[in-house]
Protein backbone atom coordinates (compact mmCIF):
# COMPACT_ATOMS: atom_id res chain seq x y z
CA UNK A 1 0.00 0.00 0.00
CA UNK A 2 1.42 3.32 -1.06
CA UNK A 3 1.60 6.03 1.50
CA UNK A 4 -1.12 8.68 1.40
CA UNK A 5 0.12 12.19 0.82
CA UNK A 6 -1.92 14.80 2.66
CA UNK A 7 -3.54 17.84 1.15
CA UNK A 8 -1.11 20.73 1.40
CA UNK A 9 -1.81 23.35 4.04
CA UNK A 10 -2.04 27.02 3.23
CA UNK A 11 -2.70 28.59 6.64
CA UNK A 12 -0.05 28.85 9.36
CA UNK A 13 0.41 25.52 11.16
CA UNK A 14 3.19 23.95 13.23
CA UNK A 15 5.69 21.57 11.66
CA UNK A 16 5.09 19.11 14.52
CA UNK A 17 1.55 18.70 13.17
CA UNK A 18 3.09 17.46 9.93
CA UNK A 19 5.17 14.97 11.93
CA UNK A 20 2.03 13.57 13.53
CA UNK A 21 0.07 13.46 10.27
CA UNK A 22 2.83 11.93 8.17
CA UNK A 23 3.74 9.42 10.87
CA UNK A 24 0.15 8.23 10.88
CA UNK A 25 0.24 7.92 7.08
CA UNK A 26 3.45 5.90 7.29
CA UNK A 27 1.88 3.64 9.91
CA UNK A 28 -1.08 3.01 7.62
CA UNK A 29 1.19 2.13 4.72
CA UNK A 30 3.96 0.18 6.42
CA UNK A 31 3.67 -2.49 9.09
CA UNK A 32 7.24 -2.15 10.32
CA UNK A 33 6.80 1.46 11.47
CA UNK A 34 6.67 1.73 15.26
CA UNK A 35 6.55 4.85 17.39
CA UNK A 36 7.78 5.73 20.85
CA UNK A 37 7.18 8.77 22.98
CA UNK A 38 8.15 9.94 26.43
CA UNK A 39 4.91 11.30 27.84
CA UNK A 40 4.72 14.10 25.28
CA UNK A 41 2.67 12.33 22.63
CA UNK A 42 0.11 15.13 22.40
CA UNK A 43 2.83 17.76 22.11
CA UNK A 44 4.88 15.87 19.54
CA UNK A 45 1.67 14.67 17.82
CA UNK A 46 2.81 11.04 17.85
CA UNK A 47 -0.52 10.49 19.61
CA UNK A 48 -2.21 10.26 16.21
CA UNK A 49 -0.17 7.17 15.43
CA UNK A 50 -0.60 5.87 18.96
CA UNK A 51 -4.38 6.02 18.83
CA UNK A 52 -4.62 4.13 15.56
CA UNK A 53 -1.86 1.61 16.25
CA UNK A 54 -1.76 1.06 20.03
CA UNK A 55 0.12 -2.23 19.68
CA UNK A 56 2.90 -0.50 17.72
CA UNK A 57 3.09 2.53 19.99
CA UNK A 58 5.18 2.58 23.15
CA UNK A 59 4.73 5.41 25.56
CA UNK A 60 7.85 5.19 27.69
CA UNK A 61 6.80 7.70 30.29
CA UNK A 62 9.28 10.37 31.33
CA UNK A 63 12.24 8.11 30.61
CA UNK A 64 13.95 9.34 27.46
CA UNK A 65 17.15 7.33 27.88
CA UNK A 66 15.17 4.11 28.03
CA UNK A 67 13.14 5.22 25.02
CA UNK A 68 16.18 5.81 22.81
CA UNK A 69 17.79 2.49 23.75
CA UNK A 70 14.47 0.71 23.19
CA UNK A 71 14.35 2.29 19.74
CA UNK A 72 17.79 0.81 19.15
CA UNK A 73 16.56 -2.66 20.12
CA UNK A 74 13.45 -2.35 17.96
CA UNK A 75 15.48 -1.23 14.95
CA UNK A 76 18.04 -3.99 15.46
CA UNK A 77 15.11 -6.41 15.19
CA UNK A 78 13.76 -5.07 11.92
CA UNK A 79 11.39 -2.29 12.94
CA UNK A 80 11.60 1.36 11.87
CA UNK A 81 11.15 3.30 15.10
CA UNK A 82 10.11 6.93 15.30
CA UNK A 83 11.15 8.13 18.75
CA UNK A 84 9.58 11.44 19.69
CA UNK A 85 10.04 13.89 22.50
CA UNK A 86 11.10 17.50 22.94
CA UNK A 87 14.39 18.41 21.30
CA UNK A 88 15.86 19.21 24.71
CA UNK A 89 15.43 15.61 25.87
CA UNK A 90 16.04 13.88 22.54
CA UNK A 91 19.39 15.51 21.89
CA UNK A 92 20.36 16.52 25.41
CA UNK A 93 19.19 14.08 28.02
CA UNK A 94 19.49 11.00 25.84
CA UNK A 95 22.63 12.00 23.95
CA UNK A 96 24.68 8.95 24.92
CA UNK A 97 21.82 6.56 24.16
CA UNK A 98 21.35 8.13 20.73
CA UNK A 99 25.09 8.06 20.16
CA UNK A 100 25.88 4.44 21.02
CA UNK A 101 22.60 2.71 20.30
CA UNK A 102 21.46 4.54 17.19
CA UNK A 103 24.24 6.48 15.46
CA UNK A 104 27.10 4.09 16.15
CA UNK A 105 24.98 1.11 15.12
CA UNK A 106 23.88 3.01 11.97
CA UNK A 107 20.30 1.94 12.64
CA UNK A 108 17.23 3.25 10.86
CA UNK A 109 15.83 5.13 13.81
CA UNK A 110 14.08 8.47 13.32
CA UNK A 111 14.25 10.93 16.17
CA UNK A 112 11.26 13.23 16.00
CA UNK A 113 12.37 16.18 18.10
CA UNK A 114 9.66 18.75 18.56
CA UNK A 115 9.69 22.13 20.30
CA UNK A 116 13.14 22.96 18.98
CA UNK A 117 14.47 26.47 19.51
CA UNK A 118 13.33 29.49 21.50
CA UNK A 119 9.89 29.64 19.86
CA UNK A 120 8.89 27.02 22.41
CA UNK A 121 8.39 30.14 24.47
CA UNK A 122 6.99 30.21 27.98
CA UNK A 123 8.74 27.11 29.35
CA UNK A 124 11.98 29.05 29.12
CA UNK A 125 15.64 28.11 29.22
CA UNK A 126 15.26 24.63 30.73
CA UNK A 127 13.18 23.49 27.76
CA UNK A 128 14.29 25.72 24.87
CA UNK A 129 16.84 23.58 23.02
CA UNK A 130 19.24 25.78 21.09
CA UNK A 131 22.21 23.45 20.64
CA UNK A 132 20.62 20.24 19.32
CA UNK A 133 21.72 20.81 15.74
CA UNK A 134 25.29 21.29 16.96
CA UNK A 135 25.16 18.11 19.04
CA UNK A 136 23.65 16.04 16.28
CA UNK A 137 25.95 17.50 13.62
CA UNK A 138 28.94 16.55 15.70
CA UNK A 139 27.67 13.02 16.24
CA UNK A 140 29.15 10.66 13.63
CA UNK A 141 26.70 9.01 11.22
CA UNK A 142 23.74 11.16 12.27
CA UNK A 143 21.77 13.14 9.68
CA UNK A 144 20.10 16.39 10.68
CA UNK A 145 16.85 17.47 9.02
CA UNK A 146 15.06 20.74 9.81
CA UNK A 147 12.03 21.40 7.58
CA UNK A 148 10.79 24.91 6.91
CA UNK A 149 7.03 24.52 7.09
CA UNK A 150 4.21 22.00 7.43
CA UNK A 151 4.29 20.97 3.79
CA UNK A 152 8.02 20.36 3.68
CA UNK A 153 7.93 18.68 7.10
CA UNK A 154 5.31 16.24 5.80
CA UNK A 155 7.58 15.33 2.92
CA UNK A 156 10.57 15.07 5.24
CA UNK A 157 8.83 12.44 7.35
CA UNK A 158 7.87 10.39 4.29
CA UNK A 159 11.41 10.82 3.01
CA UNK A 160 12.76 9.51 6.30
CA UNK A 161 11.07 6.17 5.71
CA UNK A 162 11.14 5.81 1.96
CA UNK A 163 14.34 7.42 0.77
CA UNK A 164 16.87 6.87 3.48
CA UNK A 165 18.13 4.21 5.89
CA UNK A 166 20.72 6.06 7.97
CA UNK A 167 20.13 7.44 11.48
CA UNK A 168 18.22 10.70 11.35
CA UNK A 169 17.46 13.55 13.74
CA UNK A 170 14.44 15.62 12.68
CA UNK A 171 13.66 18.93 14.30
CA UNK A 172 10.14 20.30 14.44
CA UNK A 173 8.69 23.43 16.02
CA UNK A 174 5.98 24.27 18.47
CA UNK A 175 4.24 27.38 17.07
CA UNK A 176 2.12 27.67 13.97
CA UNK A 177 4.29 29.17 11.26
CA UNK A 178 3.47 30.49 7.78
CA UNK A 179 3.54 28.21 4.77
CA UNK A 180 6.58 28.43 2.51
CA UNK A 181 5.88 25.60 0.07
CA UNK A 182 2.52 25.80 -1.72
CA UNK A 183 2.37 22.05 -2.19
CA UNK A 184 3.76 19.03 -0.41
CA UNK A 185 7.08 18.99 -2.27
CA UNK A 186 7.80 15.89 -4.34
CA UNK A 187 11.12 15.42 -2.60
CA UNK A 188 13.58 16.96 -0.17
CA UNK A 189 16.05 16.94 -3.04
CA UNK A 190 19.58 17.55 -1.89
CA UNK A 191 18.28 19.44 1.11
CA UNK A 192 18.99 22.94 -0.22
CA UNK A 193 16.24 24.73 -2.15
CA UNK A 194 16.62 28.11 -3.84
CA UNK A 195 13.34 29.74 -2.90
CA UNK A 196 14.10 33.13 -4.40
CA UNK A 197 16.78 34.18 -6.84
CA UNK A 198 18.89 37.29 -6.44
CA UNK A 199 22.36 38.57 -7.26
CA UNK A 200 23.39 40.81 -4.38
CA UNK A 201 23.39 38.67 -1.26
CA UNK A 202 22.50 35.13 -0.20
CA UNK A 203 20.22 34.55 2.76
CA UNK A 204 20.63 30.96 3.97
CA UNK A 205 17.97 29.90 6.46
CA UNK A 206 16.58 26.80 8.10
CA UNK A 207 13.38 25.85 9.91
CA UNK A 208 11.34 28.71 11.31
CA UNK A 209 13.75 31.27 9.90
CA UNK A 210 13.00 30.45 6.27
CA UNK A 211 9.77 32.38 5.97
CA UNK A 212 11.42 35.24 7.85
CA UNK A 213 14.30 35.19 5.39
CA UNK A 214 11.80 35.49 2.55
CA UNK A 215 10.23 38.47 4.33
CA UNK A 216 13.68 39.97 4.83
CA UNK A 217 14.39 39.59 1.12
CA UNK A 218 11.17 41.44 0.34
CA UNK A 219 12.18 44.22 2.71
CA UNK A 220 15.66 44.48 1.24
CA UNK A 221 14.24 44.78 -2.25
CA UNK A 222 11.63 47.30 -1.18
CA UNK A 223 13.76 49.47 1.07
CA UNK A 224 17.28 49.08 -0.33
CA UNK A 225 16.85 47.89 -3.88
CA UNK A 226 18.88 44.83 -2.97
CA UNK A 227 18.18 41.56 -4.72
CA UNK A 228 18.61 38.83 -2.15
CA UNK A 229 18.75 35.14 -2.99
CA UNK A 230 17.08 32.91 -0.40
CA UNK A 231 18.17 29.32 0.28
CA UNK A 232 16.26 26.93 2.50
CA UNK A 233 18.50 24.32 4.07
CA UNK A 234 16.29 21.42 5.18
CA UNK A 235 19.13 18.91 5.42
CA UNK A 236 21.84 20.52 7.53
CA UNK A 237 23.88 17.34 7.66
CA UNK A 238 25.07 16.20 5.22
CA UNK A 239 25.04 19.72 3.80
CA UNK A 240 24.91 19.87 0.01
CA UNK A 241 27.80 22.22 -0.64
CA UNK A 242 27.21 22.77 -4.36
CA UNK A 243 24.06 24.90 -4.23
CA UNK A 244 25.56 26.90 -1.36
CA UNK A 245 28.81 27.52 -3.24
CA UNK A 246 26.96 28.33 -6.43
CA UNK A 247 24.95 31.00 -4.70
CA UNK A 248 27.70 32.60 -2.64
CA UNK A 249 30.07 32.66 -5.57
CA UNK A 250 27.42 34.61 -7.45
CA UNK A 251 26.48 37.04 -4.67
CA UNK A 252 29.80 37.22 -2.83
CA UNK A 253 28.25 37.65 0.61
CA UNK A 254 25.78 35.77 2.79
CA UNK A 255 23.74 35.79 5.99
CA UNK A 256 22.68 32.58 7.73
CA UNK A 257 19.58 32.43 9.90
CA UNK A 258 18.63 29.77 12.42
CA UNK A 259 16.72 29.39 15.67
CA UNK A 260 19.78 27.87 17.28
CA UNK A 261 23.23 28.65 18.57
CA UNK A 262 25.43 30.10 15.87
CA UNK A 263 28.21 27.89 17.23
CA UNK A 264 27.80 24.46 15.74
CA UNK A 265 24.66 25.29 13.84
CA UNK A 266 23.79 26.17 10.26
CA UNK A 267 26.19 29.12 10.38
CA UNK A 268 29.12 26.85 11.18
CA UNK A 269 28.10 24.33 8.54
CA UNK A 270 27.88 26.99 5.82
CA UNK A 271 31.01 28.79 6.94
CA UNK A 272 32.98 25.55 6.86
CA UNK A 273 31.98 24.90 3.27
CA UNK A 274 32.72 28.50 2.29
CA UNK A 275 35.99 28.79 4.17
CA UNK A 276 37.41 25.76 2.39
CA UNK A 277 36.08 26.37 -1.09
CA UNK A 278 34.93 29.94 -1.61
CA UNK A 279 35.63 32.31 1.27
CA UNK A 280 33.20 35.21 1.40
CA UNK A 281 31.89 37.20 4.37
CA UNK A 282 29.14 35.20 6.04
CA UNK A 283 27.23 36.90 8.82
CA UNK A 284 24.97 34.93 11.13
CA UNK A 285 21.60 35.41 12.76
CA UNK A 286 21.13 33.01 15.66
CA UNK A 287 21.67 32.56 19.34
CA UNK A 288 24.91 33.76 20.89
CA UNK A 289 26.44 32.40 24.06
CA UNK A 290 23.25 32.60 26.07
CA UNK A 291 20.18 30.66 27.14
CA UNK A 292 16.63 31.46 26.19
CA UNK A 293 14.12 33.10 28.54
CA UNK A 294 10.40 32.82 29.20
CA UNK A 295 7.89 34.68 27.07
CA UNK A 296 5.55 33.94 24.25
CA UNK A 297 7.29 32.16 21.40
CA UNK A 298 7.11 35.24 19.21
CA UNK A 299 8.35 37.49 22.02
CA UNK A 300 11.33 35.20 22.51
CA UNK A 301 12.12 35.32 18.80
CA UNK A 302 11.94 39.14 18.96
CA UNK A 303 14.05 39.22 22.11
CA UNK A 304 16.91 37.41 20.42
CA UNK A 305 16.57 39.18 17.08
CA UNK A 306 15.40 36.07 15.30
CA UNK A 307 13.10 38.07 13.01
CA UNK A 308 12.89 39.14 9.42
CA UNK A 309 14.12 42.56 10.52
CA UNK A 310 17.01 40.91 12.31
CA UNK A 311 17.97 39.11 9.12
CA UNK A 312 17.58 42.25 6.97
CA UNK A 313 19.74 44.28 9.37
CA UNK A 314 22.49 41.67 9.32
CA UNK A 315 22.24 41.64 5.53
CA UNK A 316 22.78 45.40 5.42
CA UNK A 317 25.86 45.07 7.63
CA UNK A 318 27.19 42.29 5.42
CA UNK A 319 26.57 44.32 2.30
CA UNK A 320 28.75 47.13 3.66
CA UNK A 321 31.62 44.66 3.82
CA UNK A 322 31.02 43.25 0.35
CA UNK A 323 32.77 45.94 -1.77
CA UNK A 324 35.73 46.03 0.62
CA UNK A 325 36.25 42.28 0.35
CA UNK A 326 35.57 42.31 -3.40
CA UNK A 327 38.42 44.79 -3.85
CA UNK A 328 40.85 42.16 -2.63
CA UNK A 329 43.46 42.19 0.13
CA UNK A 330 44.46 45.67 1.29
CA UNK A 331 48.11 44.73 1.44
CA UNK A 332 48.26 41.91 -1.09
CA UNK A 333 51.34 41.21 -3.22
CA UNK A 334 50.09 43.37 -6.08
CA UNK A 335 50.29 46.46 -3.84
CA UNK A 336 53.98 46.15 -3.17
Amino acid sequence: MAVAVAEPKSEPIATRQAYGDALLALGQAYDDVVALDADLAVSTQSIKFGKEFPERFFNCGAAEANMMSMACGLAATGKVPYASTFAIFAAGRAYDQVRLGIAHNELKVRIGASHGGVSLGEDGASHAMIEDIALMRAMPCMQVVVPADYNQAYRAVLHSYEENDEPMYMRFGRPATPIVYEDIPETLGNGVDVLREGKDITLIATGHMVWRALEAADALEREDGVEAEVLNVSIIKPLASEPVLESISKTGVAVTAEEHRIAGGLADAVRTVAAEQHPVPIFAVGMGDEFSVSGTGEACMEHFGLTSRGIADRAREALVLKPIVARGPLFGPEWT
Binding site: V34, E55, R56, F58, C60, G61, A63, A65, N66, M68, S69, M70, A71, C72, G73, L74, A75, A76, T77, G78, K79, P81, D96, Q97, L100, G101, H104, N105, E106
Partner: protein
Amino acid sequence: MTHLRPVPDPKPRQPDPEGAGVPTIAELERWATVLRIDCVSMLAVAKSGHLDSSLSAADIMAALYYRILRHDPKNPSWPERDRFVLSKGHAAPILYAALAHTGYFPREDLMGLRQIGAHLQGHPDMNRTPGVEVSTGSLGQGLSMSLGIALALRLDGLDDTAHVFALLSDGDIQEGQTWEAATAGPHYKVKNLTAIVDYNHLQTDGTTEEVMDTGDVRAKFESFGWDAVEIDGHDMNAIVEALERSRTLDRPAAVVCQTKKGKGVSAMEGRFGFHGKPPSPELAQEAWEELEALYARQSEALQNGDSEGES
Protein backbone atom coordinates in the same frame (compact mmCIF):
# COMPACT_ATOMS: atom_id res chain seq x y z
CA MET B 1 47.84 -11.42 12.15
CA THR B 2 51.54 -11.07 11.74
CA HIS B 3 51.83 -7.84 13.68
CA LEU B 4 50.85 -9.63 16.86
CA ARG B 5 53.22 -11.19 19.31
CA PRO B 6 53.13 -14.98 19.03
CA VAL B 7 50.27 -16.34 21.04
CA PRO B 8 51.57 -17.71 24.35
CA ASP B 9 50.34 -21.21 23.71
CA PRO B 10 46.68 -21.06 24.71
CA LYS B 11 46.46 -24.82 23.99
CA PRO B 12 43.38 -24.85 21.80
CA ARG B 13 40.81 -27.20 23.19
CA GLN B 14 38.24 -29.09 21.22
CA PRO B 15 36.32 -31.04 23.84
CA ASP B 16 33.59 -33.17 22.36
CA PRO B 17 33.78 -31.81 18.83
CA GLU B 18 31.18 -34.28 17.66
CA GLY B 19 29.29 -34.20 20.93
CA ALA B 20 25.69 -34.06 19.84
CA GLY B 21 22.74 -33.27 22.06
CA VAL B 22 22.48 -31.19 25.19
CA PRO B 23 25.74 -30.70 27.05
CA THR B 24 25.72 -32.00 30.59
CA ILE B 25 26.41 -29.83 33.60
CA ALA B 26 29.94 -31.21 33.79
CA GLU B 27 30.51 -30.44 30.14
CA LEU B 28 29.24 -26.91 30.61
CA GLU B 29 31.62 -26.47 33.52
CA ARG B 30 34.48 -27.54 31.33
CA TRP B 31 33.35 -25.16 28.60
CA ALA B 32 33.44 -22.35 31.15
CA THR B 33 37.06 -23.28 31.82
CA VAL B 34 37.82 -23.24 28.10
CA LEU B 35 36.30 -19.79 27.76
CA ARG B 36 38.29 -18.58 30.76
CA ILE B 37 41.54 -19.87 29.28
CA ASP B 38 40.83 -18.02 26.05
CA CYS B 39 40.06 -14.82 27.94
CA VAL B 40 43.45 -14.99 29.66
CA SER B 41 45.11 -15.56 26.29
CA MET B 42 43.28 -12.69 24.61
CA LEU B 43 44.11 -10.25 27.37
CA ALA B 44 47.72 -11.39 27.60
CA VAL B 45 48.16 -10.63 23.90
CA ALA B 46 46.06 -7.48 23.76
CA LYS B 47 47.61 -6.12 26.97
CA SER B 48 44.36 -4.29 27.43
CA GLY B 49 40.84 -5.08 28.51
CA HIS B 50 38.80 -6.35 31.42
CA LEU B 51 39.81 -9.85 32.44
CA ASP B 52 38.31 -10.14 35.89
CA SER B 53 34.91 -8.90 34.67
CA SER B 54 34.99 -11.55 31.96
CA LEU B 55 35.96 -14.36 34.31
CA SER B 56 33.09 -13.70 36.70
CA ALA B 57 30.63 -14.25 33.85
CA ALA B 58 32.25 -17.35 32.33
CA ASP B 59 29.89 -19.89 33.88
CA ILE B 60 26.83 -17.87 32.90
CA MET B 61 28.14 -17.49 29.34
CA ALA B 62 28.93 -21.19 28.99
CA ALA B 63 25.42 -22.06 30.13
CA LEU B 64 23.91 -19.57 27.70
CA TYR B 65 25.90 -20.37 24.58
CA TYR B 66 26.12 -24.14 25.02
CA ARG B 67 22.72 -24.92 26.45
CA ILE B 68 20.20 -22.13 26.90
CA LEU B 69 20.27 -20.04 23.73
CA ARG B 70 18.49 -21.28 20.61
CA HIS B 71 20.91 -19.93 18.05
CA ASP B 72 22.59 -20.88 14.81
CA PRO B 73 26.16 -19.65 14.44
CA LYS B 74 26.03 -20.45 10.72
CA ASN B 75 23.00 -18.19 10.36
CA PRO B 76 23.48 -15.33 12.81
CA SER B 77 20.47 -13.42 11.46
CA TRP B 78 18.01 -16.31 11.86
CA PRO B 79 14.86 -14.32 12.79
CA GLU B 80 13.62 -16.78 15.40
CA ARG B 81 16.86 -17.01 17.32
CA ASP B 82 17.16 -16.10 20.98
CA ARG B 83 19.03 -12.84 21.54
CA PHE B 84 21.86 -12.19 23.93
CA VAL B 85 22.83 -8.62 24.89
CA LEU B 86 26.00 -8.00 26.86
CA SER B 87 24.99 -4.88 28.74
CA LYS B 88 28.29 -5.08 30.63
CA GLY B 89 30.08 -4.54 27.33
CA HIS B 90 33.50 -4.36 28.97
CA ALA B 91 33.27 -8.14 29.45
CA ALA B 92 33.51 -8.44 25.65
CA PRO B 93 36.34 -11.03 25.80
CA ILE B 94 34.09 -13.67 27.37
CA LEU B 95 31.44 -12.99 24.72
CA TYR B 96 34.02 -13.20 21.93
CA ALA B 97 35.36 -16.48 23.33
CA ALA B 98 31.83 -17.94 23.40
CA LEU B 99 31.05 -16.69 19.88
CA ALA B 100 34.31 -18.06 18.48
CA HIS B 101 33.97 -21.44 20.15
CA THR B 102 30.39 -21.87 19.00
CA GLY B 103 31.38 -21.04 15.42
CA TYR B 104 30.48 -17.42 14.67
CA PHE B 105 34.02 -16.66 13.56
CA PRO B 106 37.44 -18.35 13.61
CA ARG B 107 39.14 -18.74 16.96
CA GLU B 108 42.29 -17.13 15.57
CA ASP B 109 40.34 -13.87 15.45
CA LEU B 110 40.37 -13.80 19.25
CA MET B 111 44.02 -12.81 19.24
CA GLY B 112 43.11 -9.61 17.40
CA LEU B 113 41.20 -8.26 20.39
CA ARG B 114 41.51 -4.47 20.65
CA GLN B 115 43.98 -4.30 17.74
CA ILE B 116 43.76 -1.94 14.78
CA GLY B 117 42.31 -3.75 11.78
CA ALA B 118 40.72 -6.54 13.79
CA HIS B 119 36.96 -6.87 14.16
CA LEU B 120 36.96 -7.51 17.90
CA GLN B 121 36.53 -4.05 19.36
CA GLY B 122 37.14 -3.18 22.99
CA HIS B 123 33.40 -3.27 23.49
CA PRO B 124 30.94 -5.30 21.37
CA ASP B 125 30.11 -3.84 17.96
CA MET B 126 27.12 -5.26 16.09
CA ASN B 127 28.33 -4.04 12.72
CA ARG B 128 31.75 -5.63 13.00
CA THR B 129 31.40 -8.88 14.89
CA PRO B 130 29.04 -11.69 13.83
CA GLY B 131 26.76 -12.74 16.66
CA VAL B 132 26.76 -9.40 18.46
CA GLU B 133 23.12 -8.28 18.54
CA VAL B 134 23.63 -4.65 19.57
CA SER B 135 26.63 -2.55 20.41
CA THR B 136 27.11 -1.89 24.10
CA GLY B 137 29.75 -0.54 26.40
CA SER B 138 28.13 2.51 27.93
CA LEU B 139 26.64 0.97 31.05
CA GLY B 140 22.93 1.02 31.69
CA GLN B 141 21.69 0.78 28.12
CA GLY B 142 21.58 -2.98 27.56
CA LEU B 143 18.38 -3.78 29.41
CA SER B 144 16.52 -1.05 27.50
CA MET B 145 17.89 -2.34 24.20
CA SER B 146 16.85 -5.87 25.19
CA LEU B 147 13.38 -4.62 26.01
CA GLY B 148 13.13 -3.04 22.55
CA ILE B 149 14.22 -6.35 20.98
CA ALA B 150 11.69 -8.28 23.07
CA LEU B 151 8.90 -5.95 21.96
CA ALA B 152 9.91 -6.22 18.30
CA LEU B 153 9.85 -10.02 18.61
CA ARG B 154 6.39 -9.78 20.11
CA LEU B 155 5.19 -7.65 17.19
CA ASP B 156 6.49 -10.41 14.92
CA GLY B 157 4.59 -13.04 16.91
CA LEU B 158 7.80 -14.67 18.10
CA ASP B 159 7.68 -13.97 21.82
CA ASP B 160 6.66 -17.53 22.66
CA THR B 161 9.82 -18.87 21.07
CA ALA B 162 12.48 -16.17 20.84
CA HIS B 163 13.77 -15.08 24.22
CA VAL B 164 16.06 -12.15 25.05
CA PHE B 165 18.77 -12.51 27.69
CA ALA B 166 20.63 -9.44 28.93
CA LEU B 167 23.75 -9.73 31.08
CA LEU B 168 24.16 -6.83 33.48
CA SER B 169 26.94 -5.89 35.86
CA ASP B 170 26.69 -4.18 39.20
CA GLY B 171 27.72 -1.04 37.33
CA ASP B 172 24.64 -1.44 35.16
CA ILE B 173 22.59 -1.69 38.33
CA GLN B 174 24.01 1.66 39.47
CA GLU B 175 22.94 3.39 36.25
CA GLY B 176 19.49 4.95 36.55
CA GLN B 177 18.49 3.89 33.05
CA THR B 178 18.44 0.24 34.09
CA TRP B 179 15.59 1.08 36.43
CA GLU B 180 13.74 2.93 33.69
CA ALA B 181 13.85 -0.33 31.75
CA ALA B 182 13.00 -2.31 34.88
CA THR B 183 9.88 -0.15 35.22
CA ALA B 184 8.94 -0.52 31.58
CA GLY B 185 9.38 -4.31 31.23
CA PRO B 186 6.44 -5.32 33.42
CA HIS B 187 4.43 -2.32 32.15
CA TYR B 188 4.59 -3.71 28.60
CA LYS B 189 3.98 -7.21 29.98
CA VAL B 190 6.89 -8.75 28.09
CA LYS B 191 7.41 -12.41 28.83
CA ASN B 192 10.48 -13.07 26.68
CA LEU B 193 13.02 -11.05 28.62
CA THR B 194 15.52 -12.19 31.25
CA ALA B 195 17.92 -9.87 33.03
CA ILE B 196 20.94 -11.72 34.37
CA VAL B 197 22.98 -9.78 36.90
CA ASP B 198 26.64 -10.72 37.24
CA TYR B 199 26.88 -9.32 40.74
CA ASN B 200 30.60 -9.57 41.40
CA HIS B 201 30.73 -6.79 44.01
CA LEU B 202 33.86 -5.13 42.65
CA GLN B 203 34.12 -2.07 40.46
CA THR B 204 36.81 0.29 39.25
CA ASP B 205 37.17 2.31 42.44
CA GLY B 206 36.54 -0.39 45.01
CA THR B 207 33.86 -2.73 46.23
CA THR B 208 30.29 -1.87 45.27
CA GLU B 209 29.57 -1.66 48.99
CA GLU B 210 32.19 1.09 49.33
CA VAL B 211 31.59 2.93 46.07
CA MET B 212 27.81 2.75 45.80
CA ASP B 213 26.00 0.04 47.63
CA THR B 214 23.33 -1.39 45.36
CA GLY B 215 21.72 -3.31 48.17
CA ASP B 216 19.37 -6.20 47.59
CA VAL B 217 19.20 -6.25 43.80
CA ARG B 218 16.86 -9.23 43.71
CA ALA B 219 14.38 -7.50 45.99
CA LYS B 220 14.62 -4.36 43.86
CA PHE B 221 13.74 -6.23 40.69
CA GLU B 222 10.94 -8.00 42.51
CA SER B 223 9.50 -4.72 43.71
CA PHE B 224 9.55 -3.49 40.10
CA GLY B 225 7.29 -6.42 39.17
CA TRP B 226 9.84 -8.92 37.91
CA ASP B 227 10.09 -12.56 38.77
CA ALA B 228 13.38 -12.38 40.65
CA VAL B 229 15.63 -15.12 41.97
CA GLU B 230 19.12 -15.05 43.42
CA ILE B 231 21.61 -17.83 42.79
CA ASP B 232 25.28 -18.70 43.04
CA GLY B 233 26.58 -17.53 39.69
CA HIS B 234 29.25 -20.19 39.63
CA ASP B 235 26.89 -23.11 40.33
CA MET B 236 26.21 -24.48 36.86
CA ASN B 237 23.20 -26.48 37.99
CA ALA B 238 21.62 -23.39 39.51
CA ILE B 239 22.42 -21.22 36.48
CA VAL B 240 20.89 -23.66 34.00
CA GLU B 241 17.84 -24.23 36.15
CA ALA B 242 17.21 -20.53 36.72
CA LEU B 243 17.69 -19.57 33.07
CA GLU B 244 15.55 -22.41 31.75
CA ARG B 245 12.85 -21.52 34.21
CA SER B 246 13.02 -17.83 33.29
CA ARG B 247 11.93 -18.47 29.73
CA THR B 248 8.78 -20.27 30.82
CA LEU B 249 7.37 -17.34 32.80
CA ASP B 250 4.66 -14.93 31.76
CA ARG B 251 6.54 -11.87 32.99
CA PRO B 252 10.08 -10.56 32.77
CA ALA B 253 12.59 -12.41 34.90
CA ALA B 254 15.67 -11.31 36.81
CA VAL B 255 18.35 -13.81 37.78
CA VAL B 256 20.75 -12.21 40.22
CA CYS B 257 23.98 -14.18 40.18
CA GLN B 258 26.31 -13.79 43.13
CA THR B 259 29.73 -14.09 41.54
CA LYS B 260 33.38 -13.52 42.23
CA LYS B 261 35.31 -11.18 40.05
CA GLY B 262 38.27 -12.97 38.52
CA LYS B 263 36.72 -16.37 39.27
CA GLY B 264 39.01 -19.25 38.35
CA VAL B 265 42.27 -17.39 38.86
CA SER B 266 43.11 -17.50 42.55
CA ALA B 267 45.38 -14.46 42.44
CA MET B 268 42.52 -12.31 41.13
CA GLU B 269 39.47 -13.96 42.60
CA GLY B 270 37.40 -11.48 44.58
CA ARG B 271 40.36 -9.14 44.85
CA PHE B 272 40.26 -5.44 44.18
CA GLY B 273 42.64 -3.75 41.78
CA PHE B 274 42.35 -5.74 38.58
CA HIS B 275 39.41 -3.98 36.88
CA GLY B 276 40.42 -2.93 33.39
CA LYS B 277 43.96 -4.10 33.94
CA PRO B 278 45.41 -6.76 31.66
CA PRO B 279 47.31 -9.58 33.39
CA SER B 280 51.08 -9.31 33.67
CA PRO B 281 52.96 -12.12 31.85
CA GLU B 282 53.57 -13.75 35.24
CA LEU B 283 49.93 -13.56 36.23
CA ALA B 284 48.84 -14.86 32.83
CA GLN B 285 51.19 -17.82 33.21
CA GLU B 286 49.85 -18.52 36.67
CA ALA B 287 46.30 -18.27 35.38
CA TRP B 288 46.92 -20.65 32.49
CA GLU B 289 48.49 -23.21 34.76
CA GLU B 290 45.65 -23.06 37.24
CA LEU B 291 42.93 -23.16 34.60
CA GLU B 292 44.57 -25.89 32.59
CA ALA B 293 44.94 -28.00 35.71
CA LEU B 294 41.24 -27.51 36.29
CA TYR B 295 40.55 -28.38 32.68
CA ALA B 296 42.53 -31.60 33.07
CA ARG B 297 40.61 -32.56 36.21
CA GLN B 298 37.30 -31.78 34.52
CA SER B 299 38.25 -33.84 31.47
CA GLU B 300 39.31 -36.73 33.64
CA ALA B 301 36.05 -36.63 35.53
CA LEU B 302 34.15 -36.60 32.26
CA GLN B 303 36.06 -39.60 31.00
CA ASN B 304 35.21 -41.41 34.20
CA GLY B 305 31.57 -40.86 33.39
CA ASP B 306 30.93 -38.28 36.02
CA SER B 307 28.31 -36.10 34.31
CA GLU B 308 27.26 -34.30 37.46
CA GLY B 309 30.27 -32.03 37.54
CA GLU B 310 32.65 -31.06 40.27
CA SER B 311 30.40 -28.92 42.36
